[in-house]
Symmetry: none
Subunit: 415 residues, 2 copies
DNA sequence: TCCAGAGATGAATCCACCC
DNA sequence: GGGGTGGATTCATCTCTGG
């Protein structure tokens, strides 16, 4: 339970051998920039400098940090080195050297969605965490994820066996019945972690730049330590590791060269704040207000779908009439009039002149009733399905059905 | 359009300087294993050996491959090196050396869900693709994704500006009204690609181990080349790169040391030509884009696409009137009359009573002309796009007052 | 040639407002 | 007043321009 202000290397050298269960290293990434940020109340500015005279200088420093970390770890302990594309390959070579490539455990990818920029090329949206253990005999608490919704339920619930030809098949008992699996824990945790980036508006934000989310550290600490174990963070920064360790009843040592950083950490310890991520808790699906049908309509007219507004479902990609044109698709529980009103309201407050409404049903109206909108800046068109439905209804009145099974099968087999 | 059996390095040396637009390198990953797999019919076994006397031997080989690749690339060209945790860090150092670290573009993470062996530790479920360009002046086709469901519409719609204090806020015009954004493309493609490992279509599987999904190669080729450009794959394997290049109308060179591999590639190419011949022979532009529109129309009316003959493109999944209903989508080069005739002919020979024709353009007709079909067993409906197109044209004609010339010209130029 | 500053950007939270 | 909707805000990236 220690927090120290001081040069990371010197402080590490004062620590005993084989005492730490996990060390989380979150050093400067070799971005060659100065990082700064203000607190939410704008009163205080935190910064740190990540500028080096050369890659060699940086790597020399990091090599020593890694060597010391190895010394301080218990035989069953692990290290997590957080970095990004800037120097990850060089750092891993240092890790191989100090820990041995046989103690490489995982390359963890932390990925997230974040604001975009106008870069030519791909949008960078992940960082890398190298996971090495001090020995083969490392402490590891297995962690299981829930099955993905797309997983075939049969595969979860049925036992499998190997047939004579070496292929796997579902097991049957002597009566030919399928055999259900008794105990399935879920899917072992993947090495790709989707954890939302700490939002600029989140309460969890302390004002320290490059702050990591508590959720990330929770996972690392959970995987490699038990209660009472010792967590060491030599690049303490905003103190996320320390705060998380405290919340999880682990012991901790935090080191940082900046007094500001250590006092911030102390402050956060006194007042433990963890943002609950709505996104993670509710899932992405909770934000989506469209079903597959509506998406596919938008797709087929080359529109960009948007969420979080009941009046607008998307925009035409093409810039007809020199403007973006918003689109709404009538919902099953809306009358066409209600749908139109919502669209007009959204369109008006956003000053849109031209809009498109797609009618998908005749809710509370006979299909004979026509619907006219006096505003000719709104295009109202029937969905294909509605067209077909009406046509079928019209024909049904006059036609009796003839139907051959053979015909149907022919048609399907051409697929 | 060449396929060569031979040692990768020797064959590369026979190629001229500066000819390739993209090179996809999918070498052995230094797994120190022999990989083998049988075809689906169990008749043939493919294998390759990824065993080396030392890391140095492997890296020496790869260094030469990378140097040759650099030489063969055009100045605007790019290389994608596919690898995994086994040697990725060493390989990236070689890339830095040959291409220069300033030409590092992205570390692409290909991640997927995978069935688990529950070893101690995290489940490995990603591979890495390093993307380097030969120069800063590299060819790159931007590619956009949908917005996140949590993004609110105002973000997307309203222009913003920087206030005096440096903070961003929504822009207002001199009347205090919000200013709309004119053009939105979506979110730039991320460097984390989730693409299923085993492709949904199992018959894509050739029996070759470590086969890569077509979707992955499609994306790489799309990002960095245009039609007619040259794609080179020195580790051809099952030939996915070559097959994809062919489908996308790119030129290609494939090299592999194994005659089995090259003959498999040839077979896949022939098969592709056989099944897709209708589309490829028409030779009208990008096969993939062309079909997206038609597929998405069929998808949005819940229809099953069928092998395309000129008369029928799909069938409604729902059996209205107890009958299957065939659908045709008017081609760009057909008049609506021609399209109807083809549909009627196909429908008649197969004795379909009811049919649907979707009109996508006014080929050789003014949009004022209406087209009536006396056969009321055929439903003719306009595509959404056609509706919108007509609406735009109408507005251009009738709305003269509230319509500025600039707007009109924009509309024309987007057409 | 290099640096400073302005501009653009969207995810996800907070929060004001409205029934 | 509370549940839901949608508007406002902030961050760290990259590009571009001018001195």
């Amino acid at each position: 339970m220690t927090l120290k202000v001081g040069n990371c290397l010197e402080e590490l050298k004062t620590l005993d051998d084989s005492i730490a269960d996990v060390i989380y290293l979150d050093p400067p990434f070799f971005t060659q920039k100065e990082h700064q940020l203000k607190t939410r109340d704008n009163l205080k500015e935190f910064k740190f400098v990540d500028k080096w005279t050369s890659l060699e200088e940086y790597l020399n420093f990091m090599d020593q940090v890694i060597k010391e970390s190895n010394r301080i770890l218990k035989k069953t302990g692990s290290v997590f080195l957080h970095c990004d594309k800037s120097a990850s390959h060089h750092l891993r070579i240092l890790l191989d050297k100090s820990f041995g490539s046989e103690n490489f455990r995982s390359e963890i990818v932390w990925c997230y969605k974040r604001w975009s920029n106008s870069k030519k090329g791909l949008l960078n949206s992940h960082q890398t965490i190298y996971f090495y253990s001090k020995s083969q005999d490392f402490k590891f608490n297995m962690f299981y994820d829930s099955y993905s919704p797309t997983t075939n339920v049969d595969q979860i619930l049925q036992e499998r066996m190997r047939a004579k030809n070496g292929k796997t098949q579902y097991k049957r008992d002597k009566n030919g019945e399928i055999v259900n699996i008794k105990d399935k824990k879920g899917v072992p945790l993947s090495d790709v972690w989707f954890i939302p980036y700490l939002n600029p508006k989140a309460h969890e934000r302390s004002g320290y730049p490059t702050q990591k989310p508590i959720l990330l550290l929770e996972r690392i600490i959970q995987l490699t330590t038990n209660e009472g174990d010792l967590v060491l963070d030599p690049f303490c920064g905003s103190g996320t590791t320390i705060v998380t360790a405290k919340m999880m009843n682990r012991q901790f040592i935090g080191i940082d060269i900046s007094p500001d950083s250590i006092s911030l950490t102390k402050q956060r310890l006194k007042n433990l704040v963890k943002t609950k991520s709505n996104l993670l808790e509710r899932g992405e699906g909770d934000y989506i207000n469209k079903n597959k049908k509506e998406f596919s309509i938008l797709d087929s007219i080359d529109a960009i779908p948007v969420q979080r507004n009941s009046g607008i479902d998307g925009f035409l990609k093409a810039k007809y009439l020199g403007e973006l044109i918003p689109i709404k698709i009538q919902r099953e529980d809306e009358t066409i009039q209600e749908a139109l009103n919502k669209l007009l309201k959204s369109g008006k407050s956003k000053k849109y002149e031209y809009m498109i409404l797609i009618r998908t049903n005749h809710n509370q109206q006979s299909f004979h009733d026509s619907f006219e909108c006096e505003n000719d800046h709104v295009l109202i068109m029937n969905s294909y399905d509605l067209f077909i439905e009406d046509w079928v209804k019209l024909n049904k009145l006059s036609v009796s059905t003839s139907f051959s099974l053979q015909k149907e099968q022919d048609a399907i087999s051409t697929n």
